[in-house]
């Protein structure tokens, strides 16, 4: 019996770019190279959280520009790519909180103002469903799963991004998956 990764995950991983290791960009040209290297994966990651391409691009742009403006402070950072994922993840959380506050002020019963939906099976609906599931997990476990599935980061990079050890991140991931299975099983029974 042969064991492989799930097809969908494997397809994503094959397209994974080379890790953007090395020093923090210290010149506009280095910054431009960095943007070129990470823009697609960061925008995809932010899109999965925010479910709006416009918001995702604004968020990533803001993070990247801040990354350059703070280049002196971050000169010693070596894992640039994981660090950027962490910055984007944090910024996405801020944006989602702002949205929730705005939503509560506007009309608590109105649906969120997200990207146009194409149909009941649209990618945005799917992301909404994914987020609903992940929101039921402890935040640290959900974070590990998001960085692995949305960001396609290897566990070593996720550990670096989150600032914990490799065994810890694997453990969070496994517990998260286990809990996710429980939720899915529970919902299937209803």
């Amino acid at each position: 019996m042969g064991w492989t990764m799930p097809l969908t995950l494997q397809a994503t991983l094959e397209a994974e770019p080379v890790d953007t290791a090395g020093r923090w960009p210290q010149s506009p040209a280095e910054f431009e190279d960095l943007v070129e290297a990470v823009q697609d994966e960061l925008v995809h990651f932010a899109f999965c959280r925010l479910r709006s391409l416009e918001d995702a691009e604004d968020t990533v742009q803001e993070v990247l520009v801040r990354a350059y403006l703070e280049r002196e402070k971050r000169r010693a950072v070596t894992g640039v790519r994981p660090y950027l994922f962490r910055m984007v993840a944090n910024r996405c959380s801020d944006v989602l909180r702002q949205r929730q506050r705005a939503q509560r002020r506007r009309d608590p019963s109105a649906p969120a103002d997200l990207a146009a939906r194409i149909g009941p099976e649209s990618p945005v609906d799917r992301l909404e469903e994914i987020e609903r599931l992940l929101m039921r997990l402890p935040e640290r476990q959900a974070e590990a799963i998001r960085l692995r599935v949305f960001g396609c980061l290897p566990f070593a990079a996720i550990a670096e991004a989150v600032g914990v050890s490799l065994p810890t991140i694997k453990s969070r991931f496994c517990y998260g998956v286990e809990r996710l299975r429980g939720i899915l099983t529970q919902e299937a029974k209803l």
């Binding site: 019996m1 042969g2 064991w3 990764m5 799930p6 969908t8 995950l9 994503t12 991983l13 397209a15 994974e16 010149s27 506009p28 040209a29 910054f31 431009e32 190279d33 943007v35 070129e36 823009q39 697609d40 960061l42 925008v43 995809h44 899109f47 999965c48 391409l53 995702a56 691009e57 990533v60 742009q61 990247l64 520009v65 350059y68 403006l69 099976e121 990618p123 799917r126 992301l127 994914i130 599931l133 992940l134 799963i145 692995r148 599935v149 949305f150 396609c152 980061l153 290897p154 566990f155 070593a156 694997k170 453990s171 991931f173 496994c174 998956v177 286990e178 996710l180 299975r181 899915l184």
Partner: protein
């Protein structure tokens, strides 16, 4: 492997870091143990339920918008930065004398022809500069994205430009913008165009950075401004405001213009004012602006955001890593001869444009100084249709010729431009030099 350790290591099967020995052992265990295999399938299915349906990509202009945003932010940061600097008391006391000398000279500063104040400033500035080990300049320039360091245009957005120079027995420097980088490593210069992967090598003063070059030697800038004022090429004035001294020099466009082509396309070829700022306490250059005067409009086309003196510079700054598939410059004397050599500026334009039209890259290489045609150029111009090619003319300061042409690109875009060609090389070979 036990079931317990298999479950503990199951995360490795969802990692993308490659299969480890432990991973191989785990897979073997899953092949033998039904319970663990069921566990794995369950985890895999759960993960599939949080897998997005599609991958999105950044918009095509995302990078450009981000670079523009960065330029805006750098400008805002600079504006917000306090300009007042603290100075040790004794040094301040010493410098007050120099400032007083300048203030006394101010009434005589209509022009700098016999201007003792300017001479004093120059002498003090040169003295101030002589102690410099390095300079790092952060600037921005209105130019077409990815273009050279010469081309400016009031209608373009600012693009960042950054310059470093290390002084010493063998000075080294680096200048770069988002599209290209020039490195002078002490003995030779290398120009590298990132997008097309083209590299050109030259001597210490190969002219790759055009008018920006002198900015890397701030004391030379002042000398040049003084000489220009003394020769009547510019009108200059000095003023002092608080701790800052400002030298303003206005110049008329240089060059002969048979028409407006080339006018206002570079700083020397435009009516402009250069505004230099010096710290009154140290006499060091602290900022510069170039203001273009185009008809009734005054537009800042170049601005130094920050000058950092004696910042430690990493040795890697003065090297440039070229990719394996770099396209190198070919000197005109060894360019291939696989077609008749163009005899005139117009012939050169015809050779280039018709080569592009027929995707005959060997023909293009008759006038294109490179080991190969960049893929981007092939994509852009391959299969074009030539509508017309006009008569060559000269304009501005450019030593070559401009050949008017009109083409229809393969994607249906119509272009009417002037191809720049020149033959002022030792082989007198006509080469394409821009304008496409």
């Amino acid at each position: 492997m036990t079931c317990r350790s298999a479950r503990r290591q199951m995360a490795d099967l969802f990692d993308s870091a490659g299969v480890t020995d432990a991973g191989a052992e785990l897979r073997a265990h899953l092949g033998l143990c039904g319970a663990c295999a069921t566990e794995f399938r369950g985890a895999r299915d759960a993960l599939a339920s949080v897998e997005p349906l599609q991958r999105v990509r950044a918009s095509l202009d995302f990078k450009e918008r981000t670079m523009n945003k960065l330029a805006e932010q750098l400008s805002a940061v600079q504006t917000a930065r306090p300009r007042v600097r603290t100075t040790p008391f004794r040094r301040l006391a010493f410098m007050v004398g120099a400032v007083v000398a300048l203030v006394l000279a101010l009434p005589y500063l209509g022009t700098l022809r016999t201007n003792h104040g300017a001479v004093t400033l120059l002498a003090q500035s040169v003295q101030a500069m002589s102690g410099i080990q390095s300079v790092h300049i952060l600037a921005r320039m209105r130019t077409h994205r990815g273009d050279n360091f010469e081309f400016i245009g009031a209608e373009y957005d600012f693009q960042p430009v950054e310059m470093w120079k290390e002084f010493g027995a063998m000075p080294r420097w680096r200048v770069e913008n988002p599209g290209r980088v020039v490195v002078m490593d002490g003995t030779q210069s290398t120009l590298f165009l990132r997008k097309s992967k083209e590299a050109v090598r030259g001597g210490r003063n190969a002219g790759f950075v055009e008018w920006l070059g002198p900015l890397l030697d701030p004391e030379q800038v002042l000398t040049a401004e003084l000489k220009a004022a003394q020769k009547g090429e510019s009108r200059a004035s000095l003023r002092r405001e608080g701790g800052r001294i400002t030298l303003t020099a206005s110049r008329k466009a240089q060059g002969d213009f048979v028409n407006d082509w080339g006018r206002n396309s570079s700083v020397p070829e435009s009516d402009h004012t250069r505004v230099y700022q010096f710290d009154a306490a140290t006499n060091r250059l602290t900022g510069m602006q170039v203001i273009l005067h185009d008809g009734g409009k005054d537009v800042v086309v170049f601005e130094i955001d920050d000058i950092r003196y004696n910042e430690p510079l990493a040795p890697e700054l003065f090297t440039v890593a070229l990719p394996d598939d770099v396209i190198r410059d070919v000197p005109p004397e060894v360019m291939p001869v696989n077609r008749p050599i163009p005899a005139t500026a117009r012939d050169a334009a015809v050779t280039f444009l018709e080569g592009m039209a027929h995707r005959d890259w060997d023909q293009v290489l008759m006038v294109y100084r490179a080991t190969a045609i960049p893929e981007g150029l092939k994509m852009y111009g391959g299969g074009l249709r030539v509508i017309s090619i006009g008569e060559p003319f000269q304009s501005g300061l450019y030593d070559g010729w401009y050949v008017p042409y009109e083409i229809l690109l393969a994607d249906g875009t119509r272009k009417k431009l002037n191809l720049a060609v020149r033959n002022d090389n030792p082989a007198h070979r006509w080469v394409q030099d821009g304008g496409f």
